[in-house]
Symmetry: C2
Subunit: 163 residues, 2 copies
DNA sequence: CAGTATCCCAAGCGATACTG
DNA sequence: CAGTATCGCTTGGGATACTG
């Protein structure tokens, strides 16, 4: 069986996702949009991001289909635009919550976490968990095994340095 | 009730975590280390990362306590070093799996996912899921509510632009 | 093999000015 | 208000050379 490093690093869902949203600002933009910050200026002001950068991030997210840019008009007002998560965009929420969970546990001060996520229906806290499709409980230190999938790609090691 | 944008953007577990591991390479380094790639040269070669950058990332991760750098010596060999995830580092695994899950669903080609994670015990696939502490099932589009926690911080809007 | 140090470049970012 | 365009800088990163 091949070692992990025999497989191409870029042909990996983590690497691919990172290439799309793995820069300094994108995840924070998505966090804000997920929390109902919908207008350009409000995003810019809350995040403290440069306007051109925000513009380019929103454009990329819209093109990738993670965010929808829609026009609307409140009575008496002129037309405005707003940004919302699309379907695939909402599927990113576990990523945001996984970051939040880790930060809460490892980087929060003694006061406690800066924010709490609750189930809107019952008010209980939401957590990110790993589940086994057989239904087994996975404790704190689950034993995982990674194996190549159908889309795996072995590294073409023709070049001198194996790249 | 204050809108989300009234709270400081940096005082957020997502922002804090991102400040630590949210650059172009760190998560990939962690992915490799989590998969048993333990030696410097193997990491450098597999990732295609510049050696100085790898060096600085590993140093930061070691200092933050996410990765442990240990010396060891195989019989007859000279001393070597290896990198492994520490306890807090292993807690990052849900983040990695959340990225992987999203990429599998949204960025994989028709062949299927490049890799599969299984429960070492039973061989069933592992998924990332959101759970409610009351035990409610959370479907595809769970209704979540974010509320300020004890460590929340309202934006100090003394400056002209509200920063 | 396992790094560290140096050099240089380019992407990414911030500030600002401008347009609908 | 909601962006786009331009400019200049800073920093992250790549290549390479060097040391234990």
């Amino acid at each position: 069986m091949r070692p992990y490093s025999a497989y191409d690093s870029d042909t990996c869902s983590i690497a691919r996702t990172l290439a799309l949203i793995g820069d300094r600002w994108t995840l924070l933009v998505l966090r804000d949009v997920a929390n109902g910050v919908r207008r350009f200026d409000e995003l810019a002001s809350h995040l403290g991001i440069a306007r051109n950068v925000l513009s380019s991030r929103l454009a990329r997210l819209a093109q990738a289909g993670l965010v929808e840019r829609t026009a609307y008009r409140e009575p008496g007002e002129r037309e405005r635009h707003e940004y919302r998560l699309s379907g695939p965009g909402r599927e990113l929420i576990p990523i945001l919550l996984a970051f939040m969970d880790w930060g809460d546990r490892n980087l929060a001060g003694p006061e406690g976490p800066p924010a709490v996520i609750r189930h809107a229906g019952c008010g209980a806290r939401i957590r990110v968990a790993l589940t086994c499709e057989e239904g087994h409980e996975l404790g704190e230190r689950p034993r995982l095994r990674m194996e190549p999938g159908p889309g795996s790609k072995v590294r073409s090691s023709g070049l001198p340095n194996g790249r």
